[in-house]
Amino acid sequence: MSHQGLGDFEQMVLLAILHLRGEVYGVPIVDEIERRTGRTVSRAAVYITLRRLEEKGLVSSWMSDSTPERGGKPRRCVRVEPHGLMLLRESREAVNKMWRGIGPKLEEIR
């Protein structure tokens, strides 16, 4: 069965989930991406990506308990599924292959 590869942003979201410990949900994921990349990301884009990843079966989610500071609303916690880990590995390998031998050329261009 053929499958589609991961987009840049999808990779970033999956990697942020893997970096985090404890209850992983939207708020810390956005913080983690911004902290590591030094870029501001659209919060809405992260949530939409999470939905798409879940639709593709790359992450799974469950609801945690609600807290008063959230107005009694639960958190949607996520974790990366084995299929997601596999695609991440494939993406890394593909990128590594593409980078192989590029270093000297980059220096040359500079």
């Binding site: 809405a44 939905r51 959230r70 949607r76």
Partner: protein
């Protein structure tokens, strides 16, 4: 310390409505958590602003996501259900899809400047189109909101000797009612003014319809309370009245026991017999109905008593068949009554058309032609926008080339570009509809004020048909702004662009056509915009000018008397009932009017709250008038304009605090028949006599008939005074001649002006009505209003017109500026590599810049020159305009603005060109 941790309610509602149900709670919780954290940092305002930003971002992104998933789902279902259908879909792949819609929305957000300018221009054009469409539709529509309303017709006789003149009389009504078979429920009505007097309320002049009993059958409406007028009431001349729902609510406090109560309408007492249901305003916009009865004396003059006659087409009959039958009756009537019915052509028209006096297909055709002409505004704006879109499309030539290479058909690419324009035009249509809705409400209000009343079937609002029309305009706009640039961009050059992809992105070759476009764009802007600017300036000046007197302290009204004849007549105004009475009765009525009016003025003057009263009979002469100056050549005649002659009381000038510049004002010795003194204003003196003194000059009025040789030259009159310029109607004073009002010669209606001691005359108005009713209940005060209020209302209309022109002008200016900016910027961007290479080869940057600006300036200067020639030509043709009126500033402003925009557009790309690394420039090459 407690911190208010509730996010903005409206934003949260919006957010919840935009999010899918399955993820609503967790995102809401996450955002609230972050909001609380931000509030805890101390800055609640910035937290709220952040929350709003996030809400808008989430709403927009989830909207696009929803469109995407819907599109995907639909495609999956189609593919699953029928492979054959799926194949046909790929053939029809050119049709817009959800992805196109998503891309289109993205493009709107990605180019905010272009989107703003285009949507602003298109929305105003669409708003103008929609407003004109609504007004024209309201005027030409033949449907009436009554049962079987489209079959109601009005009947009259066209006077063949006077085109456009229609008449119908009591004699016609009697004859048509008995002889016509193709028209049922033949009814007649006439509208009169009556002073309504009810206990514990100020007397008020109201419209009263004298309507035949069959009128209620024609409208097919049952009363809410009591009964309507019966034939017996008509025959017995019963003093009964049916009142409308609004009147019942407003004046009788919705009293269910109102039936049987007595009210005074003018000089007669009437008994209320019924209340009509809410919304019933037949025949025009009415609230009081009394029987249409005539005595034996009136019946003897049935050929001259005017009535409006209406009926319903019988089953199977058409306006044509009814006209034919009416024509046959007309021939018989002409034979029987040659004195009144010769030279008449009976006319059957849809009821609503008769109201606006539309009697042929030509007028309707003209109305639609006007509509089409206004529609052209959209075409002009859309063409302008299409230039902008083309400039953007040109920068996306690479993307188009790649898509073509990947197998997208030309139609597919065109359709995507069309979808982008459609999104823009649909947004503009929504904005345009909102604008049009606001303006239509104002137009309805202004028309109501100008005409006194509007017929009950005229409702200027955004009906489904109007909304449909706006969508049609959006489609036309999208076709112009989307398809034309798309066809151009996907033409034969796509292959060439693809070949260039490896080099430097892609670029379209625009050459001479582009230069022509820039020059044309500047020229059109410089030609048209000064006119709009000039016009807007005039409108603003007229709507903000000072009226020159304390208008708040002045009450104005027109004094008339029942049956003594009135100027206004027709469906909207009250009808002249002087023909209902014999000549002897009429002269007795006029004598009574003079007596009562004089008594009313005397009593008003003696009221302690009143500072002065002046009579002012405007337009009282019904013949054309012109003036010849005795001491000047015979050829010096002012064009006839009866509005320029005012018949004023002796206290008129004093009351308005008008000083005499020369000579004297009127005294009581001038106010008699045969007096020869006249006073003129400064504008008249200056226009007619220049720097020479006007005092002692003589003039006379020459009454003429229909432009033939002068007849009945009046006596020579002498100018005894020159008064300061003043005009209570116009802000720019016209030339005026004042003559003394002679009480014994005045005819109703008579305009009176009352100046009160208080700064607000409004409080005195009810008392003035009481004074008039006390003198004689038949005395009528029509249009009683504070002068300041009249000025405010008339300015309101000009202000709206002014705003409309300014909005249209600003959007046109923005469009032109954006067009020029886009084109200039694109041209210079094209030369970026050239600039880079030249500077790499050691060229002096100043010299490079000079060459760039020389070309840009040449194009702009050429455009401005052509534009100025255009303005001068347009000015000559129109006979007025910025050049003619010496308003060159408007021309300079627009020219300077276009030049600045053009130059600014060249600066950015030129600067970037100079900053380019020589190696980069060479590699690109």
């Amino acid at each position: 310390m407690t911190i208010r941790s509730e996010p903005p309610t409206l934003a949260r509602r919006l957010l919840l409505s935009a999010l899918p149900r399955d993820t609503r709670d967790d995102i809401d919780g996450d955002l609230r958590e972050l909001y609380v954290r931000r509030c805890a940092n101390g800055n609640v305002t910035s937290a709220r602003a952040w929350y709003w930003r996030e809400t808008l971002s989430f709403s927009a992104r989830f909207l696009v996501e929803r469109l995407r998933t819907r599109g995907l789902k639909r495609r999956r279902v189609r593919d699953d259900v029928s492979p054959a259908r799926s194949a046909s879909h790929s053939r029809r792949g050119a049709m817009p899809s959800a992805i196109d819609a998503r891309l289109a929305l993205r493009m709107l957000v990605k180019y905010p400047g272009l989107s703003f300018v285009s949507i602003a221009g298109l929305s105003i054009a669409i708003a103008i189109g929609v407003i004109v469409f609504s007004v024209v539709a309201a005027v030409v529509d033949t449907r009436l909101p009554l049962p079987d309303g489209h079959r109601l017709v009005a009947m009259s006789n066209a006077v063949l000797a006077e085109p456009g003149q229609n008449q119908s009389t009591l004699r016609d009504y009697t004859s048509w009612r008995s002889a016509l078979t193709s028209v049922r429920d033949v009814s007649a009505f006439t509208i009169v003014g009556r002073t309504l007097v009810i206990p514990n309320a100020s007397p008020e002049l109201v419209r009263v319809v004298r309507m035949s009993a069959s009128g209620f059958q024609l409208a097919r409406s049952a009363p809410l309370l009591g009964r309507t007028v019966h034939d017996d009431d008509e025959r017995g001349d019963a003093r009964v009245v049916v009142i409308g729902y609004d009147e019942w609510q407003r004046r009788f406090a919705a009293n269910p026991d109102v039936i049987g109560k007595r009210v005074r309408l003018g000089s007669e007492q009437y008994t209320i017999i019924g209340v009509m249901p809410n919304g019933f305003r037949f025949p025009v916009n009415d609230g009081y109905w009394i029987p249409l009865s005539f005595g034996p004396q009136e019946r003897a003059r049935d050929g001259v008593i005017p009535l409006t006659i209406a009926g319903r087409l019988a089953g199977g009959a058409t306006t044509e068949s009814a006209s034919a039958q009416l024509a046959a009756i007309g021939i018989r009537m002409a034979a029987a009554y040659p004195d009144t019915h010769t030279g008449l052509r009976p006319l059957v028209r849809p009821y609503t058309r008769a109201f606006f006096d539309i009697d042929n297909a030509g007028s309707i055709y003209e109305a639609h032609l006007f509509q089409l002409f206004i529609g052209l505004v959209l075409v002009v704006v859309a063409t302008n926008v299409s230039i902008l879109v083309y400039a953007r499309t040109a920068t996306r030539a690479g993307e188009i080339a790649v898509r073509t290479a990947l197998g997208a058909s030309r139609a597919r690419v065109v359709m995507q570009l069309f979808a982008e324009s459609l999104a823009m035009c649909a947004t503009a249509a929504i904005v345009g509809l909102v604008l049009a809705g606001v303006v239509l409400t104002q137009v309805q209000r202004a028309a109501q004020h100008e005409l006194g009343t509007l017929p009950f079937w005229i409702q200027l609002r955004l009906s489904p048909v109007v909304i449909g029309y706006a969508l049609l305009l959006a489609l036309v706009g999208a076709a112009i702004t989307g398809i034309v640039p798309a066809l151009k961009a996907t033409g034969r050059r796509v292959q060439a662009n693809l070949q260039q992809l490896s080099g430097n992105g892609t670029r379209m070759q625009l050459g001479r056509a582009w230069t022509t476009l820039i020059v044309a764009q500047v020229a059109v802007a410089v030609t048209v915009l000064p006119f709009a600017l000039h016009f807007a300036e005039e409108v603003v000046a007229s709507s903000t000018g000072n009226v020159g007197y304390p208008a708040d302290a002045f009450l104005e009204a027109s004094v008339a008397m029942e049956s003594a004849g009135a100027e206004r007549c027709g469906w909207i105004g009250f009808c002249d009932r002087s023909t209902d009475t014999s000549a002897a009765e009429q002269s007795a009525l006029v004598a009574r009017f003079r007596d009562r009016a004089a008594e009313f003025v005397r009593r008003t003057e003696s009221d302690p709250a009143v500072a002065g009263v002046a009579v002012h009979a405007r337009n009282s002469e019904r013949v054309e008038i012109e003036r010849v100056a005795s001491s000047l050549p015979d050829s010096l005649r002012i064009s006839s304009d009866i509005g320029r002659i005012g018949y004023v009381g002796t206290s008129f000038f004093a009351m308005y605090d008008l000083p005499l510049v020369a000579g004297r004002g009127f005294t009581s010795s001038d106010a008699h028949t045969g007096a020869t003194a006249v006073v003129v204003n400064q504008v008249f003196a200056r226009n007619q006599f220049g720097s020479e003194p006007a005092l002692g000059r003589r003039l006379r009025f020459v009454h003429r008939q229909r432009g033939v040789a002068p007849l009945d030259a009046g006596p020579w009159l002498e100018i005894v005074g020159v008064v300061r310029d003043f005009d209570s109607d116009a802000y720019e004073p016209q030339g005026r001649i004042y003559r003394p009002a002679v009480a014994a010669e005045l005819l109703p209606p008579l305009d009176i002006v009352v100046r009160t001691h208080t700064s607000s005359a409004a409080a005195f108005a009810p008392h003035l009505r009481e004074l008039a009713a006390a003198v004689d209940p038949a005395l009528q005060l029509d249009g009683l209003t504070v002068a300041a209020e009249r000025h405010r209302q008339s300015r309101q209309l000009s202000r709206w017109v002014g705003f409309g022109v300014i909005a249209a002008m600003v959007s046109a200016l923005l469009l032109s500026a954006a067009g020029i900016y886009a084109m200039m910027s694109f041209t210079v961007t094209k030369r970026r590599r050239e600039i880079g290479i030249r500077s790499a080869l050691g060229a002096d940057p100043a010299r490079v810049l000079r060459s760039v600006f020389a070309r840009a300036s040449a194009q702009i200067v050429a455009g401005i020159a052509v534009g100025i020639l255009g303005t001068v030509a347009l000015d000559r043709v129109a006979g007025r305009g910025p050049v003619h009126d010496g308003n060159v500033l408007a021309l300079v402003f627009v020219g300077a603005m276009m030049a600045t925009v053009g130059m600014l557009a060249a600066v950015g790309p030129a600067r970037r060109g100079l900053a380019i690394q020589p190696t980069e420039a060479l590699r690109e090459e």
